[in-house]
Each structure stands twice: as structure tokens, then as C-alpha cells.
Symmetry: C2
Subunit: 359 residues, 2 copies
């Protein structure tokens, strides 16, 4: 097992990364109060709920459970309210802990509920998808969607601890494993060429779910995100680097309709477009673009998107909230493994990059 500490001063917390971890021993110092609400979903609960319930009860804590339906479409205020209902029906007070057991949606909702219940209680995350292990484990972003926009309502809420158990990834569908690898590749492309070499050497093992390799990939990804977030907790600057591939990807997701493609799939194509534009800007070589595409394809991710009319693609890009003061900012690569946030790009070249990477 490896432990990564996310350095946020008083709110410093550990991420435990390994296989067949012991939640009772690991979480004991991080559960506050006598009451623990486990929030999960209908897919994950039958697999892992009992294990965590027993571990928490063995620590002498009262547990209660809130199982939500599985899916992004339930990440809304009505289902958030079900968590509040469960907390109050169980008679929980402000000295309690909310434990999220599930993927990104459960982490976002349980985290936001913990930020608001009694104006803030304790929060522990047990991410059960590769995407949530490398993404939601670090950063403290929680929240829900609104019919007029994703993640429009939320809070910054840091967990007390995160437990990322690779053995739980064995039940993850192949497509979701690949979507998680998309974000892993992102960390290599935005800041670590050595990590890219490591991924090129180990991608077959990752796809085969070798737990040691997965744990290493999660550790390296979280370490990258933690370093960036520690420098920029409230997303004023550097944190925007984490959006590599996301502005293009957002347009693809929006056009296809959320749910048609997984987020990681759209981001994969978005990273190819960002690499392509970085090459057209003269910053990276054609070989660098090919390496980007190749690692994405080896992760069983798409490198091109369906045909989308350019005007619609551009309209969706500018709806992305990374647009500040009406000015589109993109995350591009100055070198392979070194991303920058820039407004200084040629719009005509950007259009070429979009068109060149469609079917």
C-alpha cells in the first residue's frame, strides 16, 4: 500500500492506495463522531456496502445507509435531498461522518451533502471507479447538476481521507476502465513526459487490470493533481491545466448528449485535438501528436469523434465555463508533457484541428 498526502495545511489528508485494503484499520483515525452515513448507489451497494458497513460498525460506530439510483441523471437537488432526509431520519447531529462509496457522482453528491448538513460535517471518500480514484479523490470539488448546467451548485469540501482500493476495479466495466485511463493519460500529457513513457511501457498491463500497475498509475495521477490543487485550491489559475482536452471534450459531450459518450472518451478526443492544435501552432512535432493518439488508442479510447457541424462545435466550446470574461482559453501543449493555459491561439488553426479529428 502507498499513502499520498494531499497538502492543504490544516485540511491535509491521506489517500490510501493499494489492493484489499483494510478499511477498519485505515479509516479509524479519520471517522469523527459516533455516527457514519454511508452513501452509495444501486450498482455498487450490492458489491461492497456490507464490507464497509461491517468495518465501520466494528469501530463501534452507528451506521446508516442511503442508496441512490446509479447515474449522472440523478445528480440533482431532489436526490441530494434524499441524503439529507436519511441523515435526519437517522437522527444524525453535526458530529457525524458521511462516507461516499461509489464513483464520481456519489462522491460529488455525498461530499456536497456533507458540506451542507448542519453547515458542514466530516467526509470520507471510497472511490470505486478508476476515474473517481484519479479525479475526485483530489481537489475537493463537490456538487450537483441543474437542468441549465452541470456542476452549477456545489461546494469545496475536502475529505478527511480517501481509500482507493484497486481490487474494487475488477467489477468495473471495460469501457469505464478506459474512461478512467483517459484522465490518467491527461496527467502525463499535461505535466510529465516520464509518466508518458511509463504508460507506453505499461498500458497492456493496465488494461489487463494488474493491481500493482493500477495502483502506481493512481498514485502518480493523484500526486500530479494534488500538487496542482495545493498551489491553486479555488481554481484561480494553474488548476485550469487539469482541463486539458476538456473544452473540446465538453463540446463533443454536449453535442452527442450527455451519457452517449463517457466523459473520459470525449476528453480523449479532446486531448487529440489539443495535441493537433499544439502541433499546428508549431509547439509540438507531428510525432508527438502520433504518440498522443497511439497511447489513447492503446487505452481502448476513441481518437476521433463523429462528424459535428463546426458552428455547433464552436458554440458548445464557448458555453464551456472555462471561458472567462467571454474570452476562450485553451489548454495546449508547449511541449509533449508540458501544458499551458493560453488565449493566444489561432482560431483558424483551431477549426482545422477540430475538422481533422472527426470521422
Amino acid at each position: 500500500m502507498q499513502t499520498l498526502h494531499v497538502e492543504l495545511g490544516e485540511r491535509r489528508y491521506p489517500i490510501f492506495i493499494g489492493s484489499h485494503l483494510n478499511p477498519q484499520a485505515l479509516l479509524e483515525p479519520y471517522i469523527h463522531g459516533k455516527q457514519v452515513m454511508i452513501v452509495s448507489n444501486a450498482t455498487v451497494a450490492p458489491l461492497y456496502l456490507e464490507h464497509y458497513e461491517q468495518a465501520v460498525q466494528a469501530l463501534g460506530k452507528k451506521t446508516a445507509v442511503c442508496v441512490l439510483p446509479d447515474g449522472e441523471k440523478y445528480k440533482n437537488i431532489e436526490h441530494l435531498n434524499l441524503i439529507f432526509d436519511a441523515l435526519l431520519e437517522a437522527g444524525f447531529n453535526r458530529d457525524c461522518t458521511v462516507l461516499a462509496l461509489g464513483g464520481g457522482v456519489i462522491g460529488d453528491m455525498a461530499g456536497f451533502a456533507s458540506a451542507c448538513f448542519q453547515r458542514g460535517v466530516y467526509f470520507i471518500q471510497v472511490p470505486t471507479t478508476l476515474l473517481s480514484q484519479v479525479d475526485s479523490s483530489v481537489g475537493g470539488k463537490t456538487g450537483i447538476n441543474h437542468p441549465l448546467g452541470k456542476n452549477m451548485i456545489g461546494a469545496f469540501q475536502q475529505p478527511q481521507a480517501v481509500l482507493a482500493d484497486m481490487s474494487q476495479l475488477n467489477t468495473l466495466p471495460d469501457r469505464e476502465l478506459s474512461a478512467g485511463l483517459s484522465e490518467v493519460i491527461k496527467y502525463a500529457l499535461l505535466g510529465d513526459q516520464e509518466f508518458l513513457v511509463w504508460l507506453e511501457e505499461n498500458m497492456d498491463g493496465l488494461i489487463a487490470r494488474n493491481p500493482e500497475l493500477l495502483a502506481e498509475a493512481v498514485y502518480k495521477s493523484c500526486a500530479h493533481k494534488a500538487r496542482i490543487v495545493a498551489n491553486d485550491e479555488k481554481e484561480q489559475g494553474e488548476r485550469a491545466l487539469l482541463n486539458l482536452g476538456h473544452t473540446f471534450g465538453h463540446a463533443i459531450e454536449s453535442y452527442l448528449g450527455y451519457g452517449a459518450w463517457l466523459h473520459g472518451e470525449a476528453v480523449a478526443v479532446g486531448m487529440v485535438m489539443a495535441a493537433d492544435l499544439s502541433h499546428r501552432m508549431g509547439w509540438i512535432s507531428a510525432e508527438d501528436v502520433e504518440r498522443t493518439k497511439k497511447i489513447i488508442l492503446r487505452a481502448n479510447l476513441p481518437a476521433v469523434c463523429p462528424k459535428i457541424p463546426l458552428d455547433e462545435f464552436l458554440a458548445y466550446m464557448s458555453h464551456d465555463k472555462k471561458v472567462l470574461n467571454g474570452q476562450l482559453r485553451l489548454v495546449l501543449m508547449k511541449k509533449l508533457g508540458q501544458a499551458v493555459i493560453t488565449k493566444e491561439f489561432d482560431v483558424e488553426l483551431m477549426k482545422q484541428s477540430i475538422l481533422a479529428n472527426q470521422q
Copy 2:
């Protein structure tokens, strides 16, 4: 005009207190972004909305308005969501300001919405009742009720600035003015005997709505609360002093049904009970109890409550969230004007104090 600065480090903010204040000049430095959402209610909006809308527009800002129905019963998640709807329908982004124009309910809801929208935008308070001027102006507590408990869901959200205009109190019903004075008296009883003497000298003028006297009472009250909150922002200790009269008052409100008595009315009787118990404990004199009752009666507040069966009264007291780890803590007076938080009281004497101050 007087300006009180609430000292919270980076989140230091001013409370402007006076009559016929100029919102355009005063608020200009504190409105962030180009978009301002004014949240008000159906009672206050017809009186003052246009004034503030024009002031904000004169600063070159885009305004939008969300008018909620008036009353505590609307302080719920459904009506909170109406504020999010309004923000998103108006196309507001994370660089916007929410301005609360109304009493405590509007301040709580608009403040909470501002804490959650886009994970936190800017917030300005214009409290239009005496109670909200002396209570919600300081402390950063925002939130909504749940069917199973009041203020169960919320956030700590500090405003950029507060504008407390005494001229707006002319439209306040008499009963609400008195309910606000109840909290003013509380600050004197809990920490400032000189302020009690001042209130004894000036209560007739306050009831007659003399704006200079009201401004002075608001200033002194906010200064007391600000000092306590600055020492204890997240309510770990000293802040509980602000609950003087509230545990008894909570039982009265709960038994009578919320809305039958105003909060300040129940707190007034609660303060008499706390004074009575402090006397029975041998801490303050019978004359001190009489002074407490007298100032409460001169503010046109009740000093006794209707007959409530003792067992029910006690049950409601122990439901109050000031109970920590199952142990009832009360705020009592060691001296008149000097409150303490204590578990060391005689339960039999407490019962006598409750029974002695019923009709």
C-alpha cells in the same frame, strides 16, 4: 453613518449603519463582477426593490431579481432552488454577486445560494428588519430548514458588506420591532451592563423608532456579536453565549408551533427564565431578575409564556441542538451582563424557573 468592521482576516467586511444610506456609493467597492442578483420577498420588494435595482444599475451592472414568498415556511430546498433557477436563467456565471434584500429568511436563503452557486459567488446583505440587522449581519450562518429540523442544511458564508438602513425600519410592524429589540437586550445581558443601562435610558426612544438611537443599538449589538464571532467563527465555544435565552425559547417556540410566537418573543421569556435560574443558583440578585423582566416588558415583549406541561417543555429543550453529546448546556448569567455556558446547574432549580415564568 457609522461603519463597523467585522474582523475575519481575509474575509473582513464592513457593516454600514445609518439612515437614508446611499447604496450606490457604499456598495460600489463590494460588488464583484458585472452581474447582480437581488433576492427579496413579496413584502419587501414593493417597498425597496426599485431603489436598490436602480443603485446597482447606475454602477453599470446587469441586475436580475428573484422575489420569494414572505415567511419562514418558505425557507426550504424548493424555494432555494428558485434562486438557482433565477441565476441560471439570467445566465449568471461565477463572477457575480447575490444581494439579499429582506429579513433573516431572505438573508439565510440568498446567502446559502451564494455559497453554493458555482461553488461560491459574492454576497451582500441589506437586512430590512431590526432582528436581521443585529443578528444575521454578523456570523456568516446561512441555510434552510428541513421538515425534520430548522437550519439543518446550510453553509458559513461571509458577506462582502452589509448595509443596515434605519429608515427602512419605519415600515416594520411593531411586533417585529420588539422581536428585534429582544436580541438587542440579549447582547446587553450576556456581556455589557453599561449597554443595559443605556437601553434602560433609551428604550422609549427605540420603541418610538428614533433613527439615531436605533443605529446606536444596532452598532453596539453587531459589535458584540462581531467580537464573539471573530473569536469563534465555527461555533466551537464562546459563540454559544449568543444562545442566551434560546434553549428555553426553543422549547416555547416548538410547543406553541413555529410562527405562533416570533422568535424574539420566545427568546425574551427564555432570557427571563435564564435570569430566574441564575438567581436561584445564587449568581445574580432578585433585583437583577426584576431589571431583566422590566427592560423586556418596556420593549413590549412577553416576560411569561403560556402554560406548558413541564415534561413537554423539558423534552423540547433537550431536542435543541445546543445539546452536545447528550448533555444539556445552558447559557446563564454569573452576573447581570456576564453570561457563561454551563452544564453545572441544578435541574430541580431549572424546573422551578420554568414553572415560575408561565401564566
